[in-house]
Symmetry: D2
Subunit: 318 residues, 4 copies
């Protein structure tokens, strides 16, 4: 059981990969080692069953099993559970299951096909009515996948009207202007300041932190970079943070490739000892020998660069 | 238990609506009365858990419950179960559950994002490998929802290579040329002729029957029209069939409206006594007083026209 | 020179086809005969260079040539010219060219990619500023092509703020509820009532007229039906209007097919003597022998049905 | 007049920005200074009127004016002109205008809505037939904008059947596997090796060069980096090339942001003295004070890093 998510959340909420064995079974042992790996990397919390990754390939039973397993091992770190579903009743049911299992809050993306500012507002009004005031909610803003645009104006209406909305998972592209615009809007008397964690693989993390983001919610395979960058920013060392970020940027950029990105991410997690197999459940992408050699060369370059910067790159899993 | 689906399937496979009570619970009693209603209308088979309708708002348990309930009451008529899922393992699992429950076959739509003729072929090759040769498969071709185009060339490769592919659910738009093209391609020595049932609410049913379709797989709220049109065509009375079709065309056209169409369909089924409530599970569309008056006026016009044509319009549920 | 478009516009504004010779040249002689044909059918006005049809295959010179040719022959009937363009400066330039040539107003669709209610409002505010108060504007609401949803709330803001916005070309799908909603909103004190003409091939024309539409703006190849249906409605003979509409509905439905619809429309216009060739500029769809026989059979059925109804179907071009 | 484009093309073909004055007029003087700037940066050729940028906001007259202006100042470097258009006749006409003006070849993207491998092949077969064998053609593969996927199999059919297809502008995402796959396919006896230049802002340029790309066709505001990276690779200094690339990567990544990217690019070109105004023609994005400060900080970081690497960063326009 973790304490509930609030507007004060910050830092790195890692989007956990879903490990499978080589024959495609859910690998609960790797769920454990991966959770431990993320904790060693210093993450502040977890996000499970998000839109990306392979959660949509799990059965309902496997999903809740993963949630429970991670919560049991999270050492009290908050766990957010993705509960987006085509039916509101299922959103409600999944949310209650997650909260009963000890989640800190739930994350809801709008269903494809919502139309207009009012259509979007009304959907979330229904969601909040169905969940009740006691379940903290994260708005997942990922229009590249949902096709639904969240305007700052609608977000502010939702923040003003529903106290359980405590966080924005920010993943629009381009999104820097929206982020600044939402933070500026919070100067309005009476408006709450909600937490904003950013996605998109962290590709614009330094810029987003400068514009008021509170941290990252993404699944980059070197979470310790995300953690250190956020920590350096919080300590007022923005330039140093960005230097570190830039060292990893070639890999960050490599991992944000559509389709193949997840295969690369799991390959790195596998090489780092965090999971027993890089396999995806079918249908999934896989790496060629060329892909693997290319990735390896990038890792060598990263380590060389970190070493040159006087920074010992340690495999967190060691 | 029904016998397995084959290339010889024909007639009307109704896409069954999913009935809920006024408070949103799955209404199994209405599943029974609706099944009986469809049978009285003369349907040849059933299609459950398709892409449209509200199957995606059911839990996994509810889904299989509906499947079993309809099969138990279908009087041996074949039941096809939609098993499309993001994960192949789930496609396999759902298919086996459906077949064990007595289904005649399964229906699989391609997942969004497949690219190119080869990408599509390879996906289905994986599906057929996962399901094995004993489960008859319907290809659901509905690019308006999936974004995946099926070319005649790819379909023919699949038909030639996988004997378990026995039916095309044809719902592309425009689709008349594709239908003709596939039928022409069957003149190639050694190629099987598969069954083709058409969707799109039946909007082009007479044209499609003339071009070689074997029937309809759709959910129009007056299934007896679909049944009679198919029967008249089979009896060589094409003009008479089209006369009957044209009488219903204003309602067919009304029901194919996106978003609101399902609300209209359930309202008609409710008025005809087939289900206890026209309610959809949230989030769903609902009818205004204007919508209802408009629908009622159309039904009055339909009955007047059928009466004028010397045809007694009987409510199947009476 | 025609008088300017106002909120009082009503009836049928035909979306004119663009005729080409068999070798693909713009066929100005057929532009003349087609214009005459439309006038004989009783249309109230013309819409040129809309999104559909083949205007986008014309050169800039050909486009303005067509506009001038139709205006010269329109007998004073108002001509609306589509001026949508990726650049605002081009929207302005095309609009002025059209007005100088004698157009009654211009039609503007939103560019793909506009986001949120405010994004849409701001775009049109820029358009209105660029065009000035003297050019009447039609909002073309066709989200199936633009991907941009117009909410009633945004439309009302635009109507309240910009007097030059005098008409809505209504073509959303589903759109009946939006139409009713906009008409209801006009009961607000001080709000103007704008003209609403409907598209979508006229597929829901009777329902839309009952809900407050003022007529049709579409290109159905039997414009006399659109004209008579609107006239009968205006004369309080709604049921008679719908009887007539229903007689043509099989063809209306046939012509709304994506991709192939335009080929069918030009084929009918060609058979009716309105244009010298049914050819489209490449790349375009063309009809097979099966398509042509199917169309011919539908026309025979239409004529039989009209004759049975005691209505002499006259080819307007005769 | 430049010599015609061949399969041997390589290096950097810069996608030229379109400069406007502060009041939105085409700025031909800046076209000149920008062309000079690009040449000082070392580009091997130019690409004009591509899909991105603001070419679609030009009038037809302005477009050809820009083409002539750049060709006149290009010093014999090859100029490729984008000629994609909804009408094939316009593709033909624009291509001939471009070639008469001295272009080295034309670039054609598939129109949205093409379906299936055969649909794509047939479209280009029509294009090649319309252009004749004398005009070199670049296939612009940018599915993020067109929605049309090019499979390696279709590209190979086109290469095998049409000698005038000499280059692939590669911009799919993810695209690394496709690039490798096409290069591997060229080992087939008798198949030509065509040039491949890569886009996507150069985000994966080192990886793409290692996989067989011949250079870049993109508009990054520091073209000298693209030029040097290509040159170092050609000289066998891949690691050094990648070091240089990585120094610019934060800016490369910043500039690939949708919507705002072009504003950033023009701002940099303006700061570097290449154009007189960073203004876009309406409707366009613009930069806030925050955006500008952020960009400036990135440039400072870049210069610091280049200096640290012992590399004097010279403003090419100085």
């Amino acid at each position: 059981m973790t304490s509930k998510l609030t507007e004060a959340a910050k830092g790195v909420y890692i989007i956990a990969a879903t490990p499978f064995t080589d024959d495609g079974a859910l690998d609960l042992q790797s769920v454990d080692t991966l959770t431990d790996f993320y904790i060693r990397c210093g993450v502040d919390g977890f996000t499970l069953l998000g839109m990306m990754g392979e959660a949509h390939k799990l059965t309902a039973e496997e999903s809740i099993e993963v949630v429970k397993r991670v919560i049991a091992r999270s050492g009290g770190r908050p766990v957010i559970v993705g509960v987006s579903h085509a039916g509101l009743e299922n959103v409600r049911r999944l949310s209650h299951e997650a909260m009963v299992a000890g989640a800190a809050g739930v994350m809801v993306a709008p269903p494809a096909g919502l139309k207009g500012d009012d259509g979007l507002y009304n959907y979330y009004a229904q969601v909040f009515a169905a969940l009740g005031p006691a379940i903290p909610v994260v708005y997942q803003d990922y229009p590249q996948a949902t096709g639904v645009y969240l305007s700052p104006a609608v977000f502010e209406r939702l923040v003003d009207d529903f106290r359980q909305l405590v966080m924005l998972k920010h993943e629009d592209a381009p999104g820097l202007a929206k982020l600044s615009r939402i933070r500026e809007g919070e100067s309005k008397p009476g408006r709450r300041r909600v937490a904003i964690l950013v996605g998109n693989g962290g590709l614009y993390l330094p810029q987003e932190l400068r514009r008021g983001a509170d941290g990252a919610m993404t699944g980059f395979a070197y979470p310790e970079m995300l953690v250190q960058v956020c920590a350096l920013f919080a300590a007022g060392k923005a330039e140093e943070a960005e230097d570190l970020f830039d060292a990893y940027l070639p890999l960050v950029r490599h991992e944000v490739q559509p389709a193949i990105g997840l295969a690369l991410r799991k390959e790195v997690l596998f090489r780092r000892g965090a999971i027993r197999s890089p396999r995806q459940r079918a249908p999934g992408s896989s790496l060629t020998a060329t892909d693997r050699a290319e990735l390896e060369a990038m890792i060598v370059r990263l380590e060389r660069r970190l070493a040159a910067a006087g920074r010992a790159h340690r495999l967190a899993a060691e």
